[in-house]
Assembly symmetry: C2
Homo-oligomer: 309 residues x 2
């Protein structure tokens, strides 16, 4: 009998996900019509409710639809003894690299100021420093942060990264652990957050850390809304400590209408579109791990909930 993969999709994309598995040796079922619960072997999910996955007693593996695991971290979401596979696929990685490059270049090249000049019909060339004098700092050097750091380094930017443990990436200076965070922040003119959201990284973009950046620094958050204390970021923007912020993720999504972030002149909002998992590209990643499990080979990208990613 064919094994069964149950899908709880994001963004109402169930049909697209089902189609992505059409060529593979697995039966796909929609979360809303799971049929016999005992037949479910695998679940590919985004934001399952607490207790929901426990209904499937023979579940062998859970696949996260997002790069982050935070949507799986509450009590009683992942049943005990079931491994979770993180989503790693090239569309997700490439999309994040594009978002980060775009926003780093935007701040580096004074584009918001040139847009204001155009509105005022002013022709005003600004003195431009080269990329190798622009210090970009990436919080988080995992799959997404590492790819963004490499792309920035290839353009010549002075790139550093900060992560839990030391990393070796060509052209990227590695800072790691709490003791080196202050040093990393002090040298960073454009700060990019691509961390996983864990109890250790929550609120890392707070008043204390923002004040350790050089005055007039820029912030790009494409991690999670929980990384940023939005009120403290707004206060830092008000006093000019932070000169601009590109935000793709928020405490509450969609961003609530009353948020002052919408209308702040130096805040650039996108609706959590920096990077999206692509069903077609992801299906192969899912099937690869299913094939490995069937052959009793080691799985790839297994989540470590103790680390948080």
């Amino acid at each position: 009998m064919q094994e069964v993969l149950l899908i709880k999709a994001d963004l109402e994309r169930t049909d697209e996900w089902v189609a992505a598995f059409a060529d593979f040796d697995v039966e796909v079922r929609d979360w809303n019509s799971p049929g016999n619960a005992e037949q479910i072997d695998y679940a590919l999910v985004w934001q399952p409710e607490a207790g929901a996955l426990a209904r499937f007693p023979n579940l062998k593996l859970i696949f996260s639809i997002g790069a982050g695991l935070d949507h799986l971290m509450g009590d009683n979401i992942v049943p005990p003894n079931v491994s979770v596979i993180r989503m790693v696929e090239r569309v997700l990685t490439a999309g994040m690299t594009e978002y980060v490059l775009y926003n780093v270049l935007r701040f580096h090249r004074f584009m918001p100021q040139y847009e204001a000049d155009q509105r005022n019909q002013v022709w005003n060339e600004r003195f431009q420093i080269p990329a190798w004098e622009r210090r970009v700092g990436i919080l988080g050097l995992g799959v997404l942060g590492g790819a963004a750091a490499a792309a920035l380094a290839a353009l010549g930017f002075a790139v550093a990264g900060w992560s839990r443990s030391e990393k070796t990436l060509p052209g990227v200076v590695s800072y790691y652990g709490k003791p080196q965070l202050a040093q990393f922040l002090a040298r960073t003119e454009i700060l990019v957050c691509l961390l996983p959201l864990t109890e250790h990284t929550e609120n890392i973009l707070n008043a204390d850390h923002l004040s350790q950046l050089p005055k007039g620094a820029f912030v790009i958050n494409a991690g999670r809304g929980g990384h940023c204390n939005e009120d403290e970021l707004l206060a830092a923007l008000e006093r000019g400590q932070i000169a601009g912020a590109a935000l793709d993720v928020f405490r509450e999504e969609p961003l609530r209408q009353s948020s002052r972030l919408w209308t702040h002149p130096h805040v650039y909002i996108t609706p959590h579109i920096a990077s999206m998992t692509a069903p077609a590209a992801s299906a192969q990643h899912v099937i690869d791990n299913i094939t490995r499990l069937r052959a009793a080979q080691p799985l790839t990208h297994v989540a470590d909930f103790a680390r948080g990613y």
Copy 2:
């Protein structure tokens, strides 16, 4: 006796240019105080007037401050039998790559639309295609066009280039010559102009060629204002044939106040800042060629006025 380099700088940067040559074996003089005209061996110039360089009878080489030669192309600007060296240096090349990447990513990722959404406080995710399904076309695969094409290809974009003669660049499809221009335009969703300005390339961004792009294409002009028929571009924007245009160069610079480009909602203007020659980085390029001339070795980047670059 030390040889003499005369400098006619752009952007009132004479002091910066003079400082750039401080460590080299050449005497530097300002265009406005040339001293004995017979002592001038080299001239590093931006937009010299007709007849002005003919005053220096012993001139051995002329260096262009800009990447283009169009400012040296009028009658009686370059004296007969004096070679011109084009400006090639890494700050100029890197700056252009940044400008092109920024604007390609901006259109590719719907950023102008997300900015409009923010103004309206609307949260609206758009369907995003990956870079490898986005067809970018570069007019001109010289030093600047080649570098931009390589950077776009590295990000995964479907890049093609069009140039006078066939080019071989990894990851870049080469179209060349007039007969292949139509084919190149028909496949290009984001068109980038980095051509030299010559009689063959003037007005290449005209109604006819713009109409050969797919409907809703984007245009980025960082070549010269003379490449673009501004009225015909505006007309193509009005009818939606062109969905957006990022323009760094104009027929008249500064762009005249009365131009409708300033206020068109889908035109993004920068004041000819895409790329600027950096004195410090350029001095080495100039000195390298002076050293080659002294040693009777072949010069690099010698201009070919018959080709126009």
